[in-house]
Every structure is written in C-alpha cells, then in structure tokens.
C-alpha cells in the first residue's frame, strides 16, 4: 500500500518572513487562516490551541521557536481517540527569497505506532478482552 509517514509542502509567498512568522505564531494570525479561534504560548513546551466553529479543537505543544525561521509543534493525529498518545510533528521553515518567503511545512510521524497498538491489533481472539462498558459494569457491580 505504501502510506506516507510524512507530508511535505513548499509554497512561495510574496511576503517577508516576519509577516509569515506572525501569521504562524500569533493567536491573531492562526485564527485568521488556520482555526477560527486560537491561543498560543510561544515558547518550547508552551501550549497552543485552535478551535473551529464547526466543532473540532486541536491541542498543540510548541516544540521549536527560532524566530523567524523555524516553528515546530506536535499535535494529535486526526481521527484517533482523544486519549491516544500518538502525535505528529509539524515544522514550518521560513526562508527569505528575493520578493518574499519560501515556506516549507513538514508533518511527520503518521506511521508511528506504539507496541501496545500492535499487540492489541494482533491479539485476535483473546478471551476476557474487557471493553470499557464491561469494566464499568464490573465496577458498578462491585460497588
């Protein structure tokens, strides 16, 4: 099948890196083109959050801040359960060109799987595989 582990795009924009940097790393910027609402604590380890008016939210963790050339964060893999620990890493690289900026975005880590995900996925017909509901029932019964 050959599904990608990483997604990579490069675009040329006719604006200097400082403007692109502001669009990528400020709450106002992110809320203008990416989400509908955004908050960001711009430092490695800081949290950022985006919300879309149609419901979804994205929780990000800022990883790299090297103004105005590298901005990196991790976020959850879309479609996986909220408590799933897997995250992809997104890195924007800004390079000045004559008239503007060459912006590269790389998102990597789609193929990562923790061992327990494999164990669960392969662990076919095991007896006593307790579902969340089964555990809840057992808990309520015990109470």
């Amino acid at each position: 099948m050959g599904f990608p582990d990483r997604i990579e795009r490069t675009v040329e924009v006719a604006h200097p890196p400082a403007e692109v940097w502001a669009a990528l790393t400020t709450a106002d910027g992110l809320a203008s083109w990416f989400g509908n609402e955004a908050t960001i604590d711009l430092r490695p380890g800081g949290s950022a959050r985006m919300r879309w008016t149609d419901g979804p939210t994205a929780e990000m963790r800022v990883e790299r801040v090297e103004e105005p050339t590298v901005f990196g964060f991790t976020w959850q893999i879309y479609g996986l359960p909220e408590d799933d620990p897997r995250r992809t890493y997104v890195e924007f690289t800004l390079e000045p060109t004559g008239a503007g900026t060459r912006l590269r975005v790389v998102e990597s880590g789609f193929a990562q799987l923790p061992e327990d995900a494999f164990r669960k996925a392969y662990d076919g017909n095991t007896d006593g595989w307790a579902s969340e509901l089964g555990e809840l029932v057992a808990y309520l019964d015990a109470a």
């Binding site: 924009v13 604006h15 893999i77 996986l80 995900a117 392969y122 662990d123 579902s131």
Partner: protein, 116 residues
C-alpha cells in the same frame, strides 16, 4: 512504515470493501455484540452468509467471538485494527493544501488592509 501496520490496515480496508461486511460491522458498532442469528434478523442476508463473513472478520481480528455454544456465539467489534487504519487515513485527510492556500490569502488580505 512498519510492514505489519500495513498488513493490519489492509485487512481493515479489505473488510470494508465488501458491502455485506460493512453492514455487519456497522450493525455491531451501532447495536453492540450480536450472534449470527441476531444479525440475520436485522440484515437482508442469510445466517449462513453472515456466519461466513463473521469468520473472515474474526480471522482479520476485526470482531471477536465470546465463548458460548454454537449458534449462541456473540460477536463484538474490535477497535484496535480500526485505529491502525485510521492513522493511515489521517495522513490522507490532513489537508495542508487548503490550509496553505488560506495562509497565502490571509497574507494578501493583511497587506491590502494595511494599504499595501
């Protein structure tokens, strides 16, 4: 990419490629564990055909059979392989093209708004 991840995802996609198996998985997802007889009552397919598909789904790890007498065996959905397949779909669903177009539009608009 680990080849075993691909193998798991392939089993999920193969299972989902068949309309009868999609119906069975959807019935188990919405209604919870069920026997082949229960499913035959709900779906326009014979019990024999359902049993055959359930066997295939169990082999692929997509459903699991609770111990019980023959004909009383209850099948339940197993979500783990779905989550592996979802991860592959996530790479396809991540729409950077649209996001980057929106970024370029935003930058153009800001400059115009600033009188540029």
């Amino acid at each position: 990419m680990r080849p075993d991840a691909e193998a798991i995802a392939e089993q999920v996609f193969t299972a989902l490629a068949d309309p009868t198996r999609r119906d069975i998985l959807a019935a188990l997802a919405s209604g919870g564990p069920a026997t082949a007889t229960d499913l035959a009552g709900r779906l326009p397919i014979t019990r024999q055909a359902i049993a055959k598909h359930l066997g295939l789904l169990a082999e692929a790890g997509l459903v699991t059979a609770a111990p019980g007498e023959r004909r009383r065996v209850r099948y339940r959905l197993r979500s783990a392989p779905m989550q592996v397949a979802q991860q592959f779909l996530a790479a396809l669903a991540r729409d950077w093209d649209t996001a980057l177009d929106a970024l370029a539009d935003h930058l153009d608009r800001s400059v115009r708004a600033a009188g540029g």
